[in-house]
């Protein structure tokens, strides 16, 4: 890591510099609207090399998959194949315009169509829309589809969505955006949905349930088909949150097991890069009854040509144009390199890696649920008095590992949510285990090392409370 402080672009500015050579004008100047001429533009002025060094140095202040192991639970930080990047960089993608017309963009529509078909098959669904730009966007699509499907059934009064207590925060937030109220369903002793509590909640105001499977404890919802049947029996629909699909590719098709509508995070399961926060892609898939409500347009094939069309009863557009196309090209490249066998190997190896870590850590880091896990598991970081999960996480950084997801799910105190993914080797996992065990020992013998961590980074722990109390959100020089 680059430990030297890096000035802000504003602090590097020298009056009159431009970091890119631009052409002069070959047409006569036109007069600007007098009342709207801008007097001052206070942006930095830099030469090209200064810009290159600045951003290169900034990049060196990041952990990334290309440089470090990233066992972030529910985030699926797997290797992002370089072939994906080569595929997305084709000039035939970069220079095409969304409104050029179907005849000018047959290649793009073909890719969308083939990706829709592949993802529908992987999930066991009837139809797929690639519109949503992220997982939360796909969730919003899904709950809007449930709303409209219920209306079409004449059941528009159903306004209550059931959400297990282990769900991601986006689930209830998406429900609010779709005009639903939410009711939390507790987990039982085995970490799965409490069936009795579910039964009690199923009345005629229920619109449906949102299920993450495997859930955020890393456990497969063993009663999934029964739960789906109960909700359907009560007149509701079942939403699948596909954030954790990496455990299930080639193993289980949710669309054939009672899930009505579901999103996948292509930036997780299908290896498109996270980019420090995005762009993602959150395609949404539906069974036959809900397919007409998908957000559009979708790509379809007619008489040997590809075209875009809106589904018959679509909830409408979720963004301008056709999804995060550049991300979709990467996901297509990945699916095409895997095939059916490769997809199953992804799930198998991600689950094997997670169980291996669980088996090696469980004597030192307590587990609330001890069953075999799927692609991730949740341990607890309170390994010594006065030691919190945050301390374990920060000390891991000094050992050269990105911390796991911490304090989530909310139902496990001092949670450490660990997801290794299939692309990490046993050797890397062993190195991580050694670090975790060593930190647990330090927690008892030298806790000050944990409290002071990290010490190997450009900055130590930052005062986030002060930062939020009097926010400085832009440079004020």
């Amino acid at each position: 890591m680059n430990l030297s402080p890096e000035p802000l672009v504003f602090e590097l500015s020298r009056p009159g510099l431009v970091g890119c050579s631009l052409p002069g004008s070959d047409v006569p100047p036109a007069e600007l609207p007098k009342n709207l001429v801008r007097a001052n533009l206070d942006l930095p002025e830099l030469d090209e090399l200064t810009v290159v060094r600045h951003f290169t140095r900034l990049s060196q202040k990041n952990y990334s998959i290309d440089t470090h192991f990233y066992p972030l639970g529910s985030c699926t930080m797997k290797y992002n194949p370089k072939a994906n990047e080569a595929a997305a960089a084709e000039p035939g993608w970069k220079h095409i315009h969304p409104l050029a017309g179907d005849s000018e963009t047959q290649g793009a529509l073909e890719l969308l169509y083939k990706l829709q078909e592949s993802l529908a098959e992987i999930g066991g669904f009837d139809s797929v829309s690639l519109q949503p730009a992220a997982g939360a966007h796909g969730e919003l699509a899904g709950v809007l589809m449930i709303r409209d499907c219920l209306k079409a059934r004449g059941e528009g009064q159903r306004k209550k969505m059931l959400i297990p207590d282990s769900a991601h925060g986006t689930n209830p937030a998406s429900c609010t955006m779709a005009g639903f109220s939410t009711q939390t369903i507790p987990s039982g002793k085995d970490g799965n949905i409490d069936i009795k509590a579910l039964e009690a909640a199923l009345d005629d105001s229920v619109a449906g349930i949102m299920i993450t499977n495997p859930n955020t404890l890393g456990l497969f919802e063993r009663n999934i088909t029964k739960i789906a049947a109960m909700v359907h029996q009560a007149g509701g629909l079942v939403y699948g949150d596909g954030a954790n699909m990496n455990a299930l590719t080639g193993v289980f098709q949710p669309g054939k097991s009672g899930i009505d509508v579901m999103h996948f995070n292509l930036h997780k399961t299908f290896s498109t890069p996270h980019g420090g926060g995005g762009p993602g892609a959150g395609m949404v898939a539906a069974v036959k009854e809900l397919a007409p409500f998908l957000p559009g347009p979708l790509a379809r094939r007619r008489a040997g040509k590809y075209e875009l069309a809106m589904p018959e009863k679509s909830i409408g557009r979720l963004k301008a144009f056709y999804g995060n196309f550049g991300v979709l090209v990467r996901a297509y490249c990945y699916v095409r390199m895997q095939g059916a066998e490769g997809l199953r190997r992804i799930a198998e190896n991600s689950v094997l890696n997670a169980n291996y870590l669980r088996a090696r850590l469980e004597k030192t880091y307590k587990l609330k649920y001890t069953r075999p896990c799927m692609h991730e598991f949740v341990a607890m970081g309170d390994v010594a008095p006065g030691i919190r999960t945050l301390d374990i996480a920060k000390r891991l950084i000094d050992y050269g590992f990105h911390p796991p997801t911490i304090y989530f799910p909310l139902i496990v105190p001092e949670a450490l949510m660990i997801e290794p993914t299939e692309t990490e080797s046993k050797k890397t996992l062993d190195g991580f285990v050694d670090a975790m065990l060593s930190i647990a020992a330090e927690a008892k013998t030298a806790p000050e090392l944990l409290h002071a961590a990290p010490t190997t980074t450009p900055v130590g722990r930052l005062d986030e409370v002060a930062a939020a109390r009097s926010p400085v959100l832009c440079f004020r020089g």
């Binding site: 402080p5 510099l17 431009v18 631009l22 047409v27 206070d42 942006l43 600045h54 990049s59 202040k61 990041n62 990334s64 998959i65 290309d66 930080m77 992002n80 595929a87 084709e90 000039p91 035939g92 095409i96 315009h97 409104l99 000018e104 963009t105 290649g107 793009a108 073909e110 890719l111 066991g124 966007h137 925060g169 937030a173 456990l219 497969f220 193993v251 890069p273 996270h274 980019g275 420090g276 995005g278 409408g316 557009r317 963004k319 301008a320 999804g323 095409r336 689950v351 088996a359 069953r371 075999p372 920060k394 989530f408 299939e422 046993k426 900055v459 130590g460 930052l462 986030e464 939020a468």
Partner: protein, 439 residues
């Protein structure tokens, strides 16, 4: 498969440590009847095969690398300096996660802070967030934010001259709520904003390219107690007065034009900025400055109490990501061009568009409809605009957007966009071709 690093012998050792005989046993919780379905997918391809297949698909498209390009309408063909993708595609940026652990994410966090700072100055606002999915969702979320400030106000006032896809997205976002989405014609100051309005929305410029001053509209919106939301062209803000300086409360934009390829319209960059007063009501991630124990400056995600992972069903929005890499490209673009370069590019667009418009307006049967515009303008055509588009396609010219795509009543309207990438000779060629196409 090269992405699985464990050999068979590793897997055996791991199974032994777990206490299982086979990997299949780990899936015993999955209903047996449903376990390990046979997926009907095409056979797996090697890297060279997949790149050949995808390359062949990409080659079937016709874009601005093959054709003279005058089509904009929300996605724009601008020059991207080589350093922009070279830096943004570094693995340390590309494959990093959301910066929840600030000590190992200072690169991403400082870049976001720099983007927020530069964009805030460009827009003339106090705070800019780390981005939304695209310009359309940024506008929809801005309107939602305005409505949530006072749900007693049940009307959103939009220009009729708004990108039809933006309007459609806004309608989807509001489809669960009892809010009237009303339209107005002409200048935003004549929109008739009243006490029922949560917000007045204006384009700067509008979809047709028409450019209105914003000051009086801002005064009238504020007098009626409504927020004033402006959808702006970010590049134009380098040349013309910022929306913030004219009284906008929230500024949104599609930032693709700042250093990102057209890419079939995605991923885009939803830019959103606001006044300081609205800071804690904004959706999306925001980065702020912080100090560590030794007083060193660093950056963190801040004001997270607004967000879904804390507030759950009471959150401002369900948004959970930002357009990280796209935002980074725009950040590098703004830093590289700087004040002088941004002004120069905007100036080139302005001059070339006005040169093209004056020639087209002189053609028999063609008329430029705008009184004032930046880089895009609306042309009345003597024959259906789609006919012209089809004819010119054969001459490798994309003359613009035929508005019949969105409204069959607007058959003879063509939206033309000119940028710094269009040379004088190319513009002259377009004008000659338009003249012939009308015969």
């Amino acid at each position: 498969m090269p992405f699985i690093p464990n050999a068979e012998s590793d897997r055996e050792e791991m199974l032994q440590a777990i206490g299982k005989r086979s990997v299949e046993e780990l899936f015993s919780d999955v209903p047996a009847r449903r376990r390990f379905p046979k997926l009907k997918l095409p056979r797996a391809l090697s890297e060279q095969e997949v790149l050949r297949e995808i390359g062949a698909m990409a080659a079937k498209n016709r874009g601005a690398d093959k054709v003279s390009w005058f089509l904009g309408a929300g996605i724009y063909n601008h020059f991207i300096p080589a350093l922009v993708p070279a830096l943004a595609s570094r693995g340390e940026f590309l494959t990093a996660y959301t910066p929840y652990q600030p000590e190992v994410s200072q690169g991403t966090l400082q870049a976001i802070f720099e983007y927020q700072s530069m964009a805030a100055r460009l827009f003339g606002v106090s705070v800019v967030n780390a981005s939304h999915y695209d310009g359309a969702t940024a506008l929809a979320e801005a309107a939602l934010m305005a409505w949530k400030l006072d749900e007693g106000r049940d009307k959103i006032l939009l220009p009729e001259d708004l990108h039809p896809e933006y309007k459609a997205v806004l309608e989807t976002y509001f489809s669960s709520f009892d809010v009237e989405i009303a339209g107005y014609r002409g200048a935003p100051e004549d929109a008739g904003v009243d006490g029922r309005c949560a917000c007045l929305v204006a384009g700067y410029p509008c979809f047709s390219g028409e450019l209105h001053g914003l000051g009086r509209a801002a005064e009238r919106a504020h007098a009626a107690g409504a927020l004033f939301i402006v959808h702006a062209d970010p590049l134009m803000c380098a040349l013309l007065e910022s929306p913030g300086a004219q009284g906008a409360d929230i500024v949104v934009a599609e930032g693709q034009s700042l250093g990102n390829p057209m890419n079939f319209g995605g991923p885009g960059l939803g830019m959103m900025g606001a006044t300081e007063k609205l800071m804690r009501r904004m959706p999306g991630r925001i980065v702020g400055e912080a100090r560590d124990h030794d007083g060193r400056r660093g950056f963190v995600l801040t004001l997270t109490a607004r967000e879904q992972h804390i507030r759950r069903e009471k959150a401002v929005s369900n948004i959970c990501s930002n357009q990280g890499l796209v935002m980074l490209q725009s950040c590098i673009y703004m830093a590289a061009l700087g004040a002088g370069g941004m002004r120069q590019v905007a100036s080139l667009c302005y001059d070339k568009a006005h040169y093209a418009a004056s020639l087209i307006d002189g053609l028999e049967g063609f008329r430029v409809r705008n009184r004032s515009f930046f880089k895009e303008f609306l042309v009345s055509t003597p024959v259906p605009a789609q006919t012209i588009v089809d004819k010119l396609a054969r001459r490798k010219i994309m003359p613009g957007l035929a508005l019949s795509r969105y409204d069959s009543a607007r058959e003879k309207e063509l939206l033309v966009c000119v940028t710094e990438l269009n040379g004088k000779a190319e513009i002259d060629h377009l004008v000659a071709a338009l003249k012939e196409a009308a015969l």
